[in-house]
Symmetry: C2
Subunit: 333 residues, 2 copies
C-alpha cells in the first residue's frame, strides 16, 4: 500500500474507533490488512470474488489460507462480487452478489493495482502490457533520455515470451538501479522477473515463484502440477511443521516451471521458495533439483530437503509409477 493510504487508515482508526471492518479483496494487501486490523481488535470480514482467498496461488493452497483465517476469527466470504457500499444506521453497509450484505464501520477496497502511466503517455511514451510503460531490458522508453522503472512499467519475465505486468517491490528495486545506472551512461540490463512472491498471513507463510499450470499452458508449455506434503525438518526433532508444496514442470522437457509453497511462518518457507527461484533462474529441470547440495541438520531440514522430495514426487508421477494424484511423504529415520 502507498504510505499515504497507510497513514490515512491509521488516522481513521485512531479518530473513529471502528469496530467492524470489511476488506474488499482477498489478495496480498487484503490479507496483510486483515491481520493488521485483527491485531487492533477490529472484527474483520474479507470479501473475495474468487473461490478461495489469495487467487494468485492454486485453490488447494488458498483453502489452507481460508482455514487459517477462520482460526484467527476472520470471516471470509468467497465468490462474492461487491456491488455497492451504502451509508447505514451508525456506519456503512457493503452489498454484493449473490446475497451478501454486511455492516461495517470501515471498508477497505484492495482489488489490485493499475500502472499510473498517464503522464508518460501524454508525453508520448509508448505503453505496453496492461497500459504499463513499455521499456526494454535497459529500462529505456521509446523516447530518448527517458527511462522508467517500478510499478508503472511492464515486466520482462524469464519464462514468458512477451512482457507482462507484474509489479513487485523486488523488481522495482532492480529496475530502479538499472535505470539509474544507464541514465548515467551505464550498460546494465534487467535479467527478468520470475514472479517470486511471499506473504505472511497470521501464522502461515504463502509463497510462489514461476508459472502456475494455466499460465504455463497459455505460454505454450505442457505443464503438469503435482502437490505434496513434506515436513520442514526431521519429524523426530521437536517443532516440525508440514509444508504443502505444488511443483509445476513441463511434461515433455522436464523443465521446472514454477512452485508454490504454504507452511508455518517458522518453517523457512520464504527462503525455500528462493531455492526454487534460483533453480528457475537457471532453467533447471525438476529432476535436477535432487542434484542440489542443500544444507541438512535435523532441526532445519532433511537429507533430501522438502524441495527435493517434492521434486522426486513430481518425477514419480510423470514416470507413472505412482498412480495417485498427490502423494504424501513423511520424513523417515
Amino acid at each position: 500500500m502507498p504510505a499515504a493510504d497507510v497513514f490515512a487508515v491509521q488516522q481513521a482508526i485512531a479518530a473513529r474507533r471502528p469496530r467492524r471492518a470489511v476488506i474488499v479483496g482477498g489478495g496480498y494487501i487484503g490479507l496483510e490488512m486483515a491481520e493488521a486490523f485483527t491485531s487492533r481488535e477490529l472484527e474483520v470480514t474479507v470479501v473475495e470474488q474468487a473461490p478461495a482467498a489469495m487467487p494468485t496461488v492454486d485453490p488447494e493452497l488458498g483453502q489452507l489460507i481460508g482455514r487459517e483465517l477462520a482460526g484467527q476469527a476472520v470471516r471470509l466470504a468467497t465468490e462474492v462480487t461487491v456491488r455497492a457500499i451504502h451509508p447505514h444506521a451508525t456506519g456503512l453497509r457493503v452489498v454484493g452478489d449473490p446475497g451478501f450484505a454486511e455492516p461495517a464501520d470501515l471498508v477497505l477496497v484492495v482489488v489490485g493495482v493499475r500502472p499510473d502511466s498517464g503522464l508518460a503517455a501524454a508525453a508520448g511514451v509508448e505503453l505496453g502490457a496492461r497500459h504499463a510503460i513499455a521499456v526494454d531490458r535497459q529500462m529505456r522508453t521509446n523516447l530518448p533520455g527517458i527511462w522508467a522503472a517500478g510499478d508503472c512499467v511492464h515486466t520482462h519475465h524469464r519464462l514468458l515470451p512477451a512482457p507482462t505486468y507484474l509489479p513487485l517491490g523486488t523488481t522495482a528495486h532492480k529496475q530502479g538501479r538499472i535505470a539509474g545506472d544507464n541514465a548515467l551512461g551505464g550498460q546494465a540490463s534487467f535479467a527478468g522477473s520470475i514472479g517470486t512472491q511471499v506473504v505472511k498471513v497470521f501464522d502461515l507463510a504463502v509463497a510462489r515463484t514461476g508459472l502456475r499450470d494455466a499460465e504455463a499452458a497459455a505460454a505454450g508449455y505442457d505443464p503438469v502440477t503435482v502437490g505434496t506434503v513434506e515436513f520442514d525438518h526431521k519429524a523426530y526433532y521437536p517443532g516440525a511443521h508440514r509444508l504443502r508444496l505444488r511443483i509445476t514442470g513441463d511434461r515433455t522437457s522436464g523443465q521446472l516451471l514454477g512452485a508454490q509453497l504454504v507452511g508455518d511462518r517458522r518453517a523457512q518457507v520464504a527462503k525455500r521458495i528462493d531455492i526454487f527461484a534460483t533453480a528457475l533462474f537457471h532453467r533447471m529441470s525438476v529432476e535436477g533439483l535432487s542434484d542440489l547440495d542443500l544444507s541438512y541438520t535435523p532441526p532445519f531440514g532433511s537429507p533430501w530437503d522438502a524441495v527435493q522430495m517434492a521434486a522426486q514426487t513430481w518425477m514419480r508421477q510423470i514416470q507413472g509409477d505412482q498412480p495417485t494424484q498427490a502423494a504424501s511423504h513423511e520424513a523417515g529415520s
Copy 2:
C-alpha cells in the same frame, strides 16, 4: 554420531548420573552434544585445538559461536591439545597442553571421522583421498560388481579438480541412490558436492557452502572474502535478527566460490545458505546474485535479500570504492 554411540551415551547418563562433562572437539558433533548435555543439566566444558569453536568456519564466525556457548554456560577452552584422560578421585581428569586440567564424570571424544575402508581394501578395492574408497561418479569401485557410497568413499566436489574427503549425510543419500540405481543397471551419475553444511548451536544457526579462502587459494583460485552484517528482514518489522555473512569469490573471474552465514535459529539461515548453494551449483558470479528474483515481504526479508546485499558489498570491495574490510548494512526503509 552412529546410533550405537548415541545409545551408549544415553545409557551412561541414565546409569551413572554424571554432573560434569568434558567434550574433546568443538566441531559439529561436539557442539550438538554440548547442547544436548546442557539440556540434561550437565555442566559442560568443550576443548578445542583450534583458536575458535567450529574450525570449519572462519574464526570471525567461530567467535560468535564462542559467545553463544558462554551465554549458555558452556565453558570453551580453545588452543588446547588434550594429552590424557586419568582416573581421578570420584571420576576422571582430562589433561592437556598448555596447562589444561579439568575434572569430569563423563568424557566425550569427538575429533572427526575416518573412512572405515579396511574391509574394502582387503578385498582389493582401491583407496583414494584420506584412505576413503575411490569411486567414479557412477559410484563404481575399481572392482567389477562393487559399488560404494557414503562416509567410506571419497567425494567428487564441483569446485575442486580432484576428489576430496567430505562425509555428509546429504551426500551419502545421493550417492546411495546412485549406487543402487547403477547396481540394477542404471546410468546415474553423482553431480558432485559443494560441501553445504548447517548446524544448530543453541539459539544460533551456523552454515557454510563452497570453499573458504584458504581452500580456494589451495585449489588455484584468486579468492577474496568479504564479511558483512545484514538484517534477516526489515528492521521495522518486529523480530529482526542480524545475520553475519562471509562471501568468498574469485577476484579475477568474479565467480562465487563460497559463503558462510551465522545467525539466529529463527532467521532462515539454513535455507539462505541453500540459495548460495544453488547459485554455486550453477557457477554463478557474485555479481549475478543480485539478478536473482528472490521473495520479499517485511516479516521474512528485504527487497534485496541479505544474500544479495552481502554480494553487493563484495562487489564494492572488489571495485575498490569501499576501502574498509567489512561493511555493515542496515535494512533501510
